[in-house]
């Protein structure tokens, strides 16, 4: 009993505790509403089911949120990801639609490479504004957030470009070894980012810059290069997400593709426990956050509530999560709950354990 009581704060205090609780509750609610929710079946060697759908649909958000995690870890923010999604999707679809044979794999690959290159360029633009010119990230990326939509529409000439390309469709809805292709791509990019940041020293250096920029400079870290790099990575992730989103519907709409995705991505990162002030980032947390948001959206669809009304729930989640994480709010709670057992923060606990 006593061990349980002493362990409990360690569990509830973990940064992923509340997000996971909400995720489980959502899944439970869905299952109650529709018992078949949890079932996964194998048809023609492919997995189907609501859970698989949620995973597949959350793939683009996971990608964008991964890039956003790195940007936020440096103490920045990238508002332009939605526009980058739209531009890269538009460029890819435009190129494919101009091909004589839209099903040619070579054409599709060229299209992807072209669009990816454009996304990288946009990332360099953001990174240059922030790291070289020194404009506040929120303002610097606002420029591309506004202008990028226009660029995307310029590419599509204001039309919705429809493509009829099987290889391209695969990115969104296809399967590979039984799993939706999008999930595999998301998984691959996640692994890549994880390796890039955790197998090299990049992650630590990003965290050092975000945690204390001046101390990092005095330790010889070239903060500018790192900052530029994270905006490029963010744009690259958004670019791939753009392929998925447009491939999902086999069409590119410069106006609607990736709308609000920057907000969802920021939300996912924050839910995952990464502080908007920069410093430590948690890729795993970000993915839980993205899944939570997608599950919420899907549940709302499934319960045939208007998708826009899902925003109401989202608003509640944003505020609750931010309040829980806000030091000022925690302090207030603690003062009010001046009960015999004051809540213990993980840091305090560690400190107590150390001398032993």
């Amino acid at each position: 009993m006593s061990t349980l009581r002493s362990r409990l704060p360690a569990v509830t205090g973990h940064r992923l505790f509340w997000p996971l609780v909400v995720l489980v509750l959502l899944i439970a609610a869905n299952t109650v509403y529709r018992p078949s929710f949890l079932s996964v079946e194998l048809k023609n060697g492919h997995l189907y089911g609501s859970l698989v759908d949620i995973l597949r649909l959350s793939a683009p958000l996971i990608l964008v949120a991964l890039g956003m995690s790195l940007v936020i870890a440096t103490g920045g923010i990238d508002l332009s990801v939605g526009s980058v999604v739209a531009v890269s999707g538009a460029v890819a679809c435009l190129y494919i639609s101009k091909q004589p044979d839209q099903n040619s794999l070579g054409g599709v690959v060229t299209a992807l490479a072209l669009a990816f290159g454009v996304a990288l360029l946009l990332g360099v633009w953001n990174g240059t504004l922030v790291a070289v010119i020194g404009i506040q990230p929120i303002i610097a990326t606002l420029i591309l957030m506004v202008a990028g939509r226009g660029l995307a529409q310029l590419v599509t000439q204001g039309q919705i470009i429809t493509v009829n390309s099987d290889p391209y469709r695969t990115i969104g809805v296809g399967h590979l070894v039984g799993l939706p292709f999008a999930i595999i791509v998301a998984l691959a990019v996640t692994l890549l980012v994880a390796v890039l940041t955790r197998r090299t020293a990049l992650g630590m250096i990003i965290e050092a810059v975000g945690g204390n920029a001046e101390a990092s400079r005095l330790a010889g870290v070239r903060a500018r290069r790192i900052t530029l790099l994270v905006y490029v990575v963010s744009a690259a992730c958004a670019g791939i997400a753009g392929f998925m989103m447009t491939a999902n519907v086999s069409s590119a709409d410069g106006n609607a593709a990736g709308l609000w995705v920057e907000l969802d991505a920021i939300l996912a990162v924050v839910i995952g426990g990464t502080s908007l002030a920069g410093g430590r980032f948690y890729l795993g947390g970000t993915i839980v956050g993205a899944l939570l948001i997608q599950t919420l959206t899907t549940s709302v669809y499934a319960m045939s509530i208007d998708p826009q009304t899902a925003l109401l729930f989202k608003a509640v989640v944003v505020i609750v999560v931010c309040l829980i994480q806000a030091p000022a709010f925690r302090a207030r709670l603690r003062r009010r709950a001046a009960t015999p057992t004051p809540p213990t923060t993980p840091a305090e606990q560690q400190k107590e354990q150390v001398p032993a």
Partner: protein
């Protein structure tokens, strides 16, 4: 003067922070119409005393009386309302508003509830004319020099009927003419009967204007003297103190004779190196295996010298030579490339990344030098981190603890370890022993001696003269942002001579008083 009553009396003030007794039974009094200098080194308790007075901190013991009535302010706003105004070094005004508004915001003259701009301008002009400042009050405050801004801040403070004016290092960033003008204004206000509490590190200014001096050291009151009765050398002695040396003696001179070390090959030579507004051009050579101490009071330019060597600030004049090759060190990366390392005095803001672990903080500089694509292999990390945790006895010996959870002394050792693993040839240590316990202090001093014996050059900065003398082969003396002299640490050099050099600005050599 003796007939008058003090406008402000602080009696037996104590203030305890976790682990530190910041103020210990300090008395302080301030008479109307006097300029009273509050002196002391880092950690003496000056700023704590001011913060207690203005209500930023509460007291743990003691009383504050203003005009005979006991007061206890809850914050600077309340203190200002009661007539105790503070003007800080970094002017706490609004650069984006006009001069006139900065004087009157929050209490603008109004007509029918509407801000009366014309009256505000007129009154601001009049007010500034009284302190002989004739400027366009409609211009933005930010378009004027810091000196003018400071004077505007004083004008605002005076206009809210301040009887006690606290000037906290107002002259730190001003040039000579500006200081002269500020001192003139202070004299004028004094003659109007305002009591001025003046904190500064410039001895000339103290002797130029202060009527009385109160000295604090290590949170205790050393004493209060009329300026005329306290010669400069005595003041420096009182501020720095001659600590009863609780440390074991460290045999610094045994290994290397200062003359022998200085005859060796020079590692780094600065010629006329300087930075406008920060430190006057100076020349200094540091040899291999030599410990050069920088002595001087707080704010004398010690840290600024260190920052120029490391490229933390860019020098705008002079030449730096490393290993006989002239070089420019534009940034820390360039300095690290040349095997120069720098432990800042501000561990928290300029040294460690609090969120990161001990391990990450230790390898940060090495990793930054290698580039992120070539991570230090985990095994090598373990080896290095473990070795230095043991060598410096960092406690707790857990490399995966966030560094912010460590005590000050252990944080300092982590910072040292970060640079030692890069195997620097010149190690710059800025106040490495400040705010840490005596055991850690001895360990760090021993380490410095050992490193120098091994051939490393060390630039050692400390407010404690005893420490500088114990470790250094040579002592460069700083005063008022200038390097005034360099003294070889032979048998004849003692604390008195160094203090004399600080007090006299290098024209010592005469017999000390």
């Amino acid at each position: 003067m003796s007939q008058r009553h003090p406008v402000l009396t602080m009696t037996a003030i104590s203030k305890i922070f976790p682990g530190v007794r910041a103020l210990d039974g300090v008395d302080f009094r301030l008479f109307p119409g006097e300029v009273h200098a509050l002196m002391g080194e880092n950690g003496a308790g000056k700023s704590t005393l001011i913060k207690v007075l203005t209500g930023v901190y509460g007291t743990d013991a003691g009383t504050v009386t203003l005009d005979g009535a006991r007061v206890s302010f809850t914050g600077p706003m309340q203190a200002t309302a009661a007539g105790v105004s503070t003007v800080y070094q970094e002017v706490n005004l609004l650069p984006n508003l006009s001069v006139a508004e900065n004087i009157f915001i929050g209490r603008e003259p109004r007509r029918l509830g509407v801000v009366d701009w014309r009256a505000m301008r007129r009154r601001a002009t009049e007010l500034l004319a009284r302190i002989d400042l004739h400027i366009d009050v409609t211009e933005l405050l930010g378009s004027y020099s810091l000196a003018v801004q400071q004077m505007v801040a004083i004008a605002r403070a005076v206009d809210v009927r301040a009887r006690v004016l606290i000037l906290d290092e107002p002259t730190s960033s001003l040039d000579a003419d500006e200081v002269a003008q500020l001192l003139r204004i202070m004299r004028q206000l004094r003659d109007d009967g305002i009591a001025i509490l003046f904190v500064t590190h410039f001895l000339d200014q103290v002797y130029g204007i202060a009527d009385r001096i109160t000295v604090l050291r290590n949170g205790r009151l050393v004493g209060e003297w009329p300026t005329a009765e306290l010669p400069q050398l005595a003041l420096v002695e009182k501020m720095i103190g001659k600590e009863l040396d609780a440390l074991e003696s460290i045999d610094a001179d045994a290994g290397n004779d200062p003359e022998a070390v200085a005859a060796g090959p020079p590692l780094v030579t600065a010629e006329g190196l300087g930075r406008t507004g920060s430190v006057a051009p100076f020349s200094l050579t540091i040899h291999q295996g030599e410990v050069v101490g920088l002595a001087g009071l707080l704010g004398s330019g010690r840290t600024e010298v260190a920052r120029l060597f490391f490229g933390a600030d860019r020098a705008d004049q002079g030449q730096l030579t490393v290993d006989g090759t002239p070089t420019t060190i534009r940034n820390p990366v360039a300095a690290i490339d040349r095997n120069i390392a720098f432990c800042s005095e501000n561990r928290r803001t300029e040294g460690l990344v609090g969120e990161l672990t001990v391990r990450e903080n230790i390898i940060l500089a090495m990793q930054a030098a290698r580039g992120w694509l070539r991570p230090v292999p985990r095994r090598r990390q373990d080896e290095l981190v473990q070795r230095w945790i043991e060598a410096l006895s960092i406690r707790p010996a857990n490399p995966d603890l966030p560094v912010r959870n460590l005590s000050g002394g252990n944080q300092q050792k982590v910072l040292l370890a970060r640079w030692l693993i890069t195997e620097p040839r010149l190690l710059i240590l800025d106040e490495p022993t400040r705010g840490i316990d005596i055991g850690a202090k001895t360990e760090i001093q021993r380490l410095v001696v050992k490193l120098a014996d091994g051939g490393m050059a060390v630039l050692f900065i400390s407010a404690e003269l005893e420490e500088v003398l114990r470790l250094s082969h040579r002592v460069a003396v700083m005063r008022d942002r200038q390097m005034v002299t360099q003294l070889t640490n032979d048998d004849t050099l003692d604390a008195d001579r160094v203090m004399n050099a600080i007090a006299s600005g290098g024209h010592e050599e005469g017999a000390p008083a």
